[in-house]
Amino acid sequence: MALIECRSLTKAYKRGSGTITPLHELDLDVESGDFLALMGPSGSGKTTLLNLIAGIDRPTGGELCIDGADIATLSRSRLADWRSENIGYIFQLYNLVPVLTAYENVELPLLLHRMPGRERHERVRTALRLVGIADRHDHYPRQLSGGQEQRVAIARAIVTDPRIIVADEPTGDLDAESATAIMQLLTRLNRELNKTLIMVTHDAKCAGYARRALHLEKGRLVEPGRIGSEAEQEAAA
């Protein structure tokens, strides 16, 4: 059974007198350990799909089962608990809390879990080390570059050891060099830690790091299939 199963997944909402359907009866399976890139023009429904999988939005039709649980039926508070246990979210604009240090930002999701302070500390240190930003643990977001902020955001996404990491254009606000570093980091998470990664991107180069890419247009999948992995090419080189 696939880790993520979407059956006739639909999202529609009313705007004025009309109805907009950003996602229309979409069927999709994502296996555990997959690295999926969602591509498509603006308004094609890729962020909507990502948000549904991340449990921060609700479908208006169809089924969405993740690890056997139909998350569309969960109450708002149960869904919040489910997110804290299963999802790590990486945003395009990092969304770090500006009044907290890098360490405290990474620690934030762990506060939702019962664990001894020592274990929490170890987890934060490990996550910061993994993304290569341990030396900046006491810096505030305003004291970090965009690439460093995104590393902290990635550390925050992985610190609870979630099964699924979703990333909404994680390199969209970065220069090419930082973008490459971030993509290499995400690839490591997928390859070495076996994290299931779903990433929305407009950038074909970034999509090249994924194991497979899906194209959406007007809320429908148009071109499922495997693509040549840039990471594999790098690895081969």
């Binding site: 948000n51 939005d57 708002r76 997110r83 804290s84 999802i87 500006p98 009044v99 907290l100 506060l111």
Partner: protein, 390 residues
């Protein structure tokens, strides 16, 4: 439900120094005004309540229970009472029976010779110091009969709105066109007597051309008698046309008379607090609205809306609590004891624990109700919408 760290709320206060200052000073101002209203009501009620003693019986002319100034009692009544009523306290052969005249008269002082103010003049005998044992002569002495001398309460200056230098012992003030020499000052903390002018009974009767007195105050020994027995006496002597009541009851009636003034004070305080609340709502909405995306991100991490609301309310409460404490400090330092003039004379504002409590509650209410609607409004957006906002 797992909450956001308290540190998050504390540090959020530092995001905008101007907004923090506005919140703290705004809430401090509202709390100071609420405390002032509470201190006014408490001071007024307190001065009337303290002024009366449970063991003091006041005998007034029948039908004048509402105002001692309108009361007329035969001048021979004190002697009759002393001879007829048992259980009146006595010391060294002197009974605690004090005949008194209460009259409002225009007063002029050296710095305000063209402006007259009304003051309550109490004509007394030395027995007044026995029945009103809270009265302490702080300077000079009791006025001597036939010398046109007077003794002034500690708050007469406030009551008349004149500088203390006008009321110094040895000086002269003009009462109803006649000069009187100030021979003493007295204090009777917290009572309405502090706003009064005391003069010898016979001098006041002569000056006001009256043959009757206003009332007789006597102190009873509660082990030997009670107000009921005095009432029996007044009924047995209907020719005297007297009513008897405890001083507590008399001042209690007066307190009831000033009830509407207290209501106005509370309504004013409530309106000020409401104005402050709307100001707070605006400030907090501006503060939270600029963080909608961050609040969406916190929800996406798994924090529940209620946890975020708690954190935002904590933030607001912190600001208003600081403002409230600041206001309490200002009130204790500058408002407590501040003299206020009113028709009965003067009283001091009372900033005590209950008043400070009212102020702190107002501050906390401001923080809670000023933050809840903006917090709920900012969290009404769905998470995807919140994440898209700037």
């Amino acid at each position: 439900m797992r909450l956001l760290p308290f540190d998050y709320a504390v540090r959020n206060l530092g995001r905008s120094a101007a907004r923090l200052l506005l919140s703290v000073l705004g809430s401090a101002l509202v709390v100071v005004l609420v405390i002032a209203a509470a201190a006014f009501v408490r001071g007024m009620s307190g001065s009337l309540n303290i002024s009366g003693s449970a063991n003091n019986i006041i005998l007034l002319g029948a039908g004048s229970e509402e105002s001692v100034e309108r009361s007329e009692v035969e001048a021979s009544t004190p002697g009759l009472l002393e001879a007829s009523v048992s259980g009146v306290r006595a010391r060294a052969g002197v009974s605690y029976v004090s005949p008194q005249v209460h009259v409002m008269l225009p007063v002029q002082t050296s710095s305000q010779q063209t402006k007259e103010r009304q003051a309550l003049i109490r004509g007394v005998t030395p027995e007044a110091l026995l029945v009103h044992d809270m009265v302490r002569i702080t300077e000079g002495r009791l006025p001597r009969p036939g010398s046109d001398e007077i003794m002034l309460g500690r708050m007469v200056g406030t009551s008349l709105g004149v500088p203390e230098s006008d009321l110094a012992v040895g000086g002269t003030i003009v009462i109803d066109g006649r000069p009187w020499k100030v021979c003493g000052r007295f204090a009777a903390p917290g009572t309405v007597m502090e706003g009064e002018v005391w003069a010898p009974l016979l001098d006041v009767m002569a000056a006001t051309k009256r043959a009757t007195i206003s009332c007789v105050v006597l102190t009873i020994d509660p082990a030997l008698t009670d107000v009921g027995e005095i009432e029996v006496f007044t009924k047995m002597r209907p020719d005297l046309e007297l009513v008897a009541m405890t001083e507590l009851a008399y001042y209690g009636r007066l307190a009831g008379f000033f009830g509407p003034i207290k209501v106005v004070a509370w309504v004013t305080a409530a309106l000020i607090a409401l104005g402050g609340l709307f100001g707070g709502l605006n400030t907090m909405y501006a503060a939270f609205a600029s963080r909608v995306r961050e609040l969406g991100a916190l929800q996406s991490l798994g924090f529940r809306r209620a946890a975020i609301v708690v954190s935002l309310v904590q933030e607001s409460l912190l600001a208003t609590t600081v403002g409230g404490l600041l206001a309490c400090a200002v009130a204790v330092l500058f408002l407590d004891g501040l003299a206020v003039r009113f028709s009965m004379g003067a009283f001091g504002l009372v900033v005590d624990a209950p008043v400070v409590g009212v102020g702190l509650c107002a501050g906390l209410g401001l923080g809670l109700f000023g933050a809840l609607p903006p917090a709920v409004r900012c969290l009404r957006l769905s998470i995807p919408e919140a994440l898209k906002s700037f």
